[in-house]
C-alpha cells in the first residue's frame, strides 16, 4: 500500500501564536499583543495591513506588519488562527 504524506501544519518555519486582538464595531481586527513562550509582548504599532502569503511559513491570510520594541515582523491571520515566520 502506498503511504500518503500527511500535512504538518506546525512545521519549522511556521509558528502559531496566541494573540490578544481588538475587534471594532465594524468587524475590523487589530492584534494588540502576543505570547511567545511564557512571555507576553505588546505590539507597539501596526505599520501595514494587507492580504499576503508567506512562502517561508507556508500559508496565507491577512498580513499585519507589526513593530515590537523596534523590531519589525509580520503576523498573519489565517482564517481564525495567527501565525508568524520562525
Amino acid at each position: 500500500m502506498l503511504e500518503l504524506i500527511p500535512q504538518d501544519h506546525n512545521h519549522e518555519g511556521k509558528l502559531y501564536v496566541p494573540v490578544w486582538a481588538y475587534y471594532d464595531a465594524c468587524g475590523n481586527i487589530k492584534p494588540l499583543a502576543l505570547r511567545l513562550g511564557d512571555q507576553n509582548f505588546i505590539i507597539d504599532r501596526i505599520l501595514d495591513v494587507r492580504p499576503g502569503a508567506s512562502r517561508k511559513a507556508g500559508g496565507c491570510g491577512i498580513r499585519y506588519l507589526c513593530r515590537i520594541r523596534e523590531q519589525r515582523f509580520a503576523l498573519y491571520l489565517e482564517e481564525d488562527r495567527w501565525f508568524m515566520e520562525s
Binding site: 502506498l2 500535512q7 512545521h11 492580504p51 499576503g52 502569503a53 512562502r55 511559513a57 500559508g59
Partner: protein, 415 residues
Amino acid sequence: MHADMNSFYAAVECMHRPAERALPLAVGGDAERRHGIILAKNEYAKRYGIKTAEALWQARQKCPQLCIVPPDYPLYMRYSALARKIYASYTPKTESFGLDECWLDLSDRHMDFRRAARLAEEIHLRIINELGVTVSVGVSWNKVFAKLGSDLSKPDGTVVITPGNYRERIWPLPVGDLLYVGRATERKLRHAGIKSIGDLARCPSRWLKERLGKVGLMLQAFARGEDRSEVSMSDDPEVIKSIGNSVTTPRDLIRDEEVKLVYFALAESVAARLREQGLTSSCISISLRDSRLCSASHQRALSRPTDLTMEILDEVMALYEEHFQERGPVRSLGIKASKLQPADPEQLNFMPDRARREQYARIDRTVDGLRRRFGYAAVRRAYLLKDELGRLDAKGSHVIAPVPFIKGGETICSN
C-alpha cells in the same frame, strides 16, 4: 479574461509544505476508496513524465522518490474563494470553471487590450503575493480564446490574444486544445486531416455540419473567434443553475439494493441543499457510471417544483427503474436538480396530496434543524443503517463542480 491557477492542488500543497516544496510532489486520491489516481503534480514531478489521472503505482514507477500527499479539499476551497474575491474586486461578472479557473468580464467603454493586459498583470501579481500560488492569465475578446491564452501563458504569465495576432498564436495549436474538443471529436477531426485549430477554422462549414452536426459549427465558430457567450455571473448566488451531488463508491455496487441506498443518501443531500438555498427544482436527472467507466444520464421534468426529500427520491427511483435495469457493476452515481426557482410560500392548492406534502415538509424541516445543531449523524433514516454505504454524508463532503459551459446541455450520454 481567463485566469487559471497552475497545477492548483499541487501548488497549494507546495505552498503549505515548505519541506517538500523542492521535491517532486503529487496530490493523490485515496487508494482505499478507489480514487487512487494522481489529481495534480508540481513542476518537478512533471519532469518525470507524471501525468494527471494515472494510477499512483504507475507514478511511483516513473519516480520512486515522488511525494504523494492526500488532498485537502477544504484548503483548496479556501484558496479558490480567496482568488475569487480578488477577481471580484475587478468586476462583478465572474464565472468559475472548477475550483481553479475563472472567467472575468472586464469589458466596458474604456477597455482596450493594452489596459486589459495591465490589469491581467496586476491580477497575476496579486495572486502570487496574496496567495503564494501562480496563475496564468489569458486576455481576449471572447471566452474561448481567453482560455487558450491562459493555456499558452503557462506555467506563469499573461498572454493577450487580439484580432491582430490570433492567427499566429491560436491557429497553430492542436485542435484538441480547443474547449469541448474531447478525445472522440479530436479523433474524428484528425481522421479528416484537421490537426490544428486553424484547419478547423478554414474547413468548409457544410462538411463539418455533416460530420459533427451542430457541434461542428459551434466548434468552428470557437476556432474563428466568433464565440459570443457571456461570462455568466455564475458565482452570483442568485443564479445557481443546478444543484447536484455524485460519489464514487468505495466498492462496486452489484445489487439493486445497494445502488438504491446510495441514491437515497444523494437525494437527501441534494434536497437538503435545495432547501438551504431556498430553491425548488422542477427537473431531476440521475447519472450512473459502471466499472468499465461507461456513463449515462437521464432526466425527467416534474409536474411541479419541489424541494422535498421524499418527492425527489421517488423521482430518482422511478428514473432508475426505468433506465438502469440492465447495467454492469456500478462505480459512481450522481443526482442533479435543475430548472431551479425560488421556493415561494406555496400558493393555495386544492390538490388532494396537500396534507401529505405539508407533512413531508415538516419532517424535512425538523431533520434539517437537528442536523444543523447536532451534526449529520444525529438523525438518519433506518433504511440507510442497513449498510456502511448509507453512512456517507454526501452533503458534507460535496465539492464544487465546473458549471457546464454549453447552456441547455443537460443530458450527456457517452458510451
